[in-house]
Amino acid sequence: MTRAAPKPQCDSHPYLPMEAEVVEFTAESPSIFTLRLKLTDEQQNQLYSFQPGQFNMLYLHGVGEVAISIVSDPQDERLIDHTIRAVGRVTKGLQQLKPGDRLGLRGPYGRGWPMQECKGQDVIIVTGGLGCAPVVAVINYILMRRKKFGKLTIIQGVKHSDDLIWRERYDYWNTLPDTQVLIAADHGGAVWPFHHGRVTDLFSKSIVDPANAFAMLCGPEGLMQAASTGLIDLGLQPERVYLSMERNMQCAVGHCGHCQYGKDFICKDGPVFSYPEISDRLGVQGV
């Protein structure tokens, strides 16, 4: 695998953020929101480019930085979207921003999804937990360029039916040609219209051709592990199964050591890995 991550723009001083402005704030759910940002420096704005699956470090003044995936389309006008779940210090602070507010941004960082490799192929996307941002970028990317890709299955698993956001979006996607949305909840409740149980139960229902498909996985490690083996059993080639990994991240440039996942630094060797690259560690306690 030699998919090197491209270098970001702000390279002369790898730690120094650029100033960005909040253009739009969208509340997706009580704890999930989307920040649409724009670099305030026109030149930086022109130079900025990224690939789906890459991420930025967002800085909230006086509080700190967090790694957040870019969900907008790389070809979009120069606006950079981030969908964020407010869980802790920084992200809860980001949730209080309003249009016009300024923050810091540096990036993009990391190795994104294999978008070139899977042109013309079927794609199966498996996500778990609350709205998994990194794959939203892929879904948008494929839907924007629908003809360039084969069949698309989106499988979303949630613990509880209440955790599902973007219900309309899923319903809409499901109506598109060659596109299928499958949803599972561990605890569905009486009126849950979708599957009760695990996402892996749904693989057999997918419309994609396992022999010609790429898989993109994002979610809790246990789920990704189970999904990887399930998909490989289904007939996908292991090197076509991709996973987006997560570890604590401080610097995003491979210096701080926090995002080590075995031998890899998730910030620069990932966050997206192919299954064979990390199968030796997947699901191992303490790695």
Partner: protein
Amino acid sequence: MSDKPRIAVHKFSSCDGCQLAFLNMGEDLINLAEQVEIIHFAEAGPVAEDALVDIAFIEGSVVTAHDQQRIKQIRNNSQYLITIGACATSGGIQALKNLAADAADWPAQIYGQPQYIDSLDQSGAVSDYVKVDFELWGCPINSAQVVELVNSLLRGVSPIDHQDKVCLTCKQEQIVCTLITQGKPCLGPVTRNGCGALCPSFGRDCFGCYGPAENSNTIGLANRFAGLGLLPDEIQRRFKLVHASASENQRIIARDLTQDLAQDLAQESSDE
């Protein structure tokens, strides 16, 4: 009315030392007063014990029936309740009383008219009685902790819970380890950082005034102290000072170390 956050500083059973983290701030005390509205802080002047506030800081432990009512009232009146210092957070040095078998008799032993003394058998942490939103550890806490905390609250984000070990500070500051070079029973490896490794920087072993750190292996350290030649009673006294009530320290205090050591020795000789 200003829209600045309203704060209160309440005192329970304590030495007043943690309130000094405010009063010893120097210029920052005046800066702070510009950022917040101080509603109740008896030692500094304003008295309004029952006012509604955004943030209530609590110093001291709960030791009387009246204290119990008072802390509940404060909880009801405050949006955030934050303990400052060992007394409020873990019961503090007063909690040594909790470990004494005859503590209930102390007032009678001491005061001519003990019926006038309102004192519970226990010195309790505030969290024994009401929900606490955040705890500042330390005996005493310092001004830097207060400034950092207030900074977070003013920005509407949760404060940072520092819980790494004193050892990390020692090494960053290039302070020489007292345990390694002098064989002293230093509690640094199980104590929260935040003080700046003051004791080791003055050549002495940390006695744990900032309380247990995250993942504190007090049993491992107690065994090491035994290896350094400390007797069971000395080992227990190490863990029984400022945060005697903390569960990590109780693991050592509430244990019959003489028994354990005897077993260990027997084990060792049978291994040979």
